[in-house]
Amino acid sequence: MKVVGKPLERRDAWDKVTGRTRFLADIPLGEAWYGGVLRSQVARGNLAGIARDAGFDWSQVVVITAADLPGPNTVAMIREDLPLLADGEVSFVGQALALVAAPDRATLAAALAALRPDITPSPAVLSMEEALRGETVIWGEDNVIADYTIAPDDMAAFEAAMATADRIIEGTYRTGYQEHIYLEPQGVVADPRPDGGVEILGSLQCPYYVLNALARGLGLERDRLVVRQSPTGGAFGGKEDYPSVLAMQAAVLALKSGRQVAMLYERHEDIIASTKRHPSRTRHRTAIAEDGSLLAADIDVVLDAGAFTTLSPVVLSRAILHAAGSYNIPLVRIRGRAVATNTPPNGAFRGFGVPQSIFAAERHMDRIARELGVEPLALRRQLVLERGDVLPHGQVLGEGNAAGALVLERAVTLSGYEKRRGELAAANAAAAERGDPVRHGIGVSLVHHGAGFTGDGEDRIATVVRVRGEADGTVTVLCSSVEMGQGAETVLPAIAAEALDLPLEAVRYHQPDTAAVPDSGPTVASRTTMVVGKVLVQACDDLVRRARAHGADARAAWSAQAAAGEALVGEGRYEPDPDIRWDQEHHHGDAYPGYAWMATVVEAAVDTDTLEIHPERVTAVAEIGTAINPVLCVGQVEGGMVQSLAWGYLEEVKLDGGRYLNDRLATYIIPTCLDAPRFEVELAAEPSPRGAYGAKGLGELPMNGGAPALAAAIEHALGIAPDTIPMTPDRLLEQLQARAQEARP
């Protein structure tokens, strides 16, 4: 292959290193007004009204409350339960109560300060446990937003195994919030159109999600709505669902004021208002036979959805589909629930529920190893899923989908895991002897991640990609997959160049714009390279086919047609695979077209004086099918890994009465260059027949593996088993004190 597999330069790199890339806030606004949001300061209550200070000149601004909305009061996602503006009931701190547009920021701030909401607080549900108890019901009949079960085919055998096993090993695992901290905060600019429609330009992942939300919320036909993506400074899922909220806010202000309205969040507001990773609690009960073999597992996953549905059912679905981890356990039942609390709605974040459930699965594997008295690595080697094995949801792992043992063995070899485990244990003993406070540990995790939408999701999205032949012999890729740092603007053209036998320079990429590109689905779920890339290849083939109708030399033909004003456009459409079976109601069947695999070995230091953790060295082996651009792939692994590690020990959101306390970059702590480990990353390839040139999804995979490997390393270093993340110094201290208590006679 000429382009695929080559470490080619990113196409957006030079503009980015010279400061020429224009992110949304870099585009001059001219006469635009600024939009802002009046937010609830209480977690739950009844909004009787919003008083306006008589001293403020209200004629100079536009104010919108729930009563003033042109369409239904909703931001449509999976459900329509999230109101654009609170109407009577208030459900979380930060919920939008009113919108204001003003000619400048100072007037905007003054207007927001002159609005006085009258809210009578009522008892709020502030934790998953409270929500499950159901004494106070804030959503539906029982606070349960979604409740799914993956059941074994032979339920009687499962129940018998759980009832009669030699022993049951139980564990409960918790994970905390995570804020995306894309370096570019959220923002959109809305322009009213003369025909009564609106155009949105924004930092976002999913142009057509926003378009759908606008069409529903404004009650407008799609031909009067346009959504364009501006260069996006990081997203990680944070710009999947939230831009629909922001775009609706800006759109109603633009329509009412008749002016361009910019809503550019600063960091503090971004953290308060935007979604976070769902906190989770997962219980494992594993039935063990007398000989130590695993008979059955009963797993219960609970996610804290926050006050409204957003994407939580889909996050939950993906979480439970990975909850048994990367291991072959004969009989598995998994139940998942997403429950409502009076906290800001949680949403998409790289990994989409899997980091939570797989953290529990990995920690539980370590617990089983500990209780059985075997090495964590030995247990993993014994249980790792292989080709032909059946996942709990009934999917048989086929060709190109079972690289667990491959990555595990390679990571163990590369890192010298077994030798280092002994060396570090000896070094710790020596350090204790001489009073040195620093301990070291090494841990391993094995994870996988299904790429693309779950089950028949890709059938429903029905991705369309087009490729247009240009007069100068180049082609332009037309799709709605956005560049947000992950490299779509480089990788998709590389795929097209390969398919068309063109140099990379001869392929252009059209910035996503719903007026110009077809709906190739959202830029999420590790689907862009694998799924959209595959449809792109079809589009390229189609262009060649059409061009050859005009002449033997396809390139010459499409150039000539374009020069004549009749540009040829090749089109690819996702074709449902007849072999894929999926039963959504029972979560049974072929959940994902491709699984990528990764083994991670983390060496970490802990200072026992301060209980500060430092991950020092990470070895990661990722099997991702064909690496279209290996430099970009390594970048994804390293970046995702640091996010995963930091989620495991550094990043913490504390709440007080439903209000985030860590709401600035001074208090929500993400890693600096000094906190990041040294990396050794290796890519392995078992090409997938379902992906473009054998590619599989990669973006989310590294987010799954860091935290559990780090927790295993801390267990190795300190001899305590951290089952809750983040492993803050406070938490480690508590565990060490509990152990000291137990050790007392």
Binding site: E9, Y182, G233, G234, R267, D609, G635, N662, C673
Partner: protein, 458 residues
């Protein structure tokens, strides 16, 4: 206010509000949008630029302070046709993903390589520690900087007529619509006269003030800029003491071989206080007057028997650093007084000093607990002149008086000394519970850190 400065080699005359952020001047007035805003409070480094060759966060620099300065932004670093070697290295090594942090990272990398042509990996990481990147995990970035080390910047040939600053242009000219009156005196006497006339907010590095103004703190009527006051920007050494001017920066401390040799705990605190941009801006006086209980320098200054020199038209007043705080964020300073300096006596021979910080991360972090220690062994082998001062555990810094008294006069190798000190130190403070750490953690860690210091002598 009319200011004159050189931006990317070009002389600019600008009409600005004095406290307008340099970030906004660059982005909105000059259209130089390569400099980004990621947090508005000096945490992320996306707005890092060079001012007179030093890395600074443009969100923390008021416009008036760049009068007569030379500013370099990413747009001036190089172009695709004529790039800085770092720009090319970032492209080649895969150090760019979303690109939003990239300009700031490049400016930090350039400042690092300008100061040290071939840094070690540890130096590279420390040099970039004030620039948050959420995409790359930093691995490719470190690789890019390493690969560009030793290569000359593309700006070698540019105008060097102002090597230590911009044009010599006198004072900025105030305008009728300035929201704030700025005083930029040339002498301490002039500064004190301004203080005497009423409430002026004193500004040196601006790291805390500019973030506070941006977050909504009302603007003052008057600002007194002491950042160029020669009498306050020097480190003066005498046989008996060192006098640190209030406007001495953390970088100045780190660059002083005398300070690092004789007051190593102070250098360590200056090293740990932040990352390069903040170290270049933040000052000794600012750290004292801002009066954050988590300040890193303050416990060290107290443990080293520092004395705050407060100047006013009525004369000087000296207050030991340990007595300088009357309560939470309440320094003992009259409105007409200027913190001019802090004096540190030269440590006696054999004094061991230490500064320990338990932070949230390894750079750019606010302490959960910090502790400054000094002591020496007398001729009889006994601990003496013991000083233990903790920060970030209560509303002000606190001396661990019971532990100090217990240690004083005891042999360092006395059995059980470390355990006794641990117990005392953990027990004697009323530690706070807050968003960063629990009270229990603070007590335990304080005990551990005191023990760590005691062990130095064994």
């Amino acid at each position: 206010m009319k200011i004159v400065c050189i931006v990317n080699g070009e002389r600019r005359e600008l009409e600005v509000q004095p406290l307008r952020r340099l970030l906004d001047v660059l982005r909105e007035d000059l259209g130089l949008t390569g400099t980004k805003e990621g947090c508005g409070e000096g945490e992320c480094g996306a707005c890092a630029v060079h001012i007179d060759g030093r890395l600074m966060n443009a969100c923390q620099v008021p416009a008036f302070q760049v009068h007569g300065r030379k500013i370099l932004t990413v747009e001036g670093l190089g172009t695709r046709e004529s790039p800085d070697p770092l720009q090319a290295a970032f492209v080649t090594a895969g150090a760019v993903q979303c690109g939003f942090c990239t300009p700031g990272l490049l400016m930090a990398s350039r400042a690092l390589l300008d100061a040290k042509a071939a840094p070690t990996e540890a130096e590279i990481r420390a040099g970039l520690a004030g620039n948050l990147c959420r995409c790359t995990g930093y691995g490719r970035v470190v690789e890019a900087v390493r690969s560009a080390a030793g290569m000359r910047s593309g700006r070698e040939g540019e105008d060097q007529s102002h090597p230590h600053g911009g044009p010599d242009v006198g004072s900025p000219v105030p305008s009728a619509d300035d929201a704030v009156q700025v005083f930029m005196p040339n002498t301490l006497a002039e500064a004190l006269a301004v203080m005497d006339h009423g409430e002026a907010v004193v500004m040196a590095g601006g790291t805390d003030l500019m973030a506070a103004f941006h977050a909504g703190r009302p603007l003052p009527d008057k600002v007194l800029d002491i950042s160029r006051l020669r009498e306050l920007t020097g480190i003066m050494l005498s046989p008996r003491r060192v006098t640190l001017g209030a406007a001495v920066s953390y970088t100045d401390l780190l660059n002083s071989t005398e300070v690092t040799a004789h007051w190593p705990a102070l250098a360590e605190a200056a090293r740990q206080v932040g990352a390069p941009a903040v170290q270049n801006m933040g000052t000794v006086g600012g750290n004292l007057v801002n009066a954050s209980p988590g300040a890193d320098l303050v416990p060290v200054l107290a443990a080293l028997d520092g004395v705050v020199v407060l100047a006013s038209t009525g004369g000087e007043r000296r207050v030991p650093v340990l007595d300088f705080y009357k309560g939470y964020r309440d320094p003992d300073r009259r409105p007409d007084e200027l913190v001019a300096a802090v004096e540190l006596p030269r440590p006696a021979a054999g004094v061991r000093q230490a500064f320990f910080k338990a932070g949230t991360r390894r750079a750019q972090s606010i302490a959960r607990v910090n502790l400054a220690c000094c002591a020496r062994i007398d001729t009889q082998g006994r601990l003496t002149d013991v000083k233990l001062v903790a920060g970030s555990v209560g509303p002000t810094i606190v001396a661990l008086r019971e532990t100090m008294a217990y240690m004083e006069g005891r042999r360092a190798d006395e059995g059980g000394l470390d355990a006794a000190c641990r117990r005392l130190a953990s027990g004697e403070v009323h530690a706070i519970d807050d968003v960063r750490a629990s009270a229990d953690y603070r007590r335990q860690v304080l005990g551990n850190l005191v023990t760590k210091f005691v062990k130095i002598f064994v």
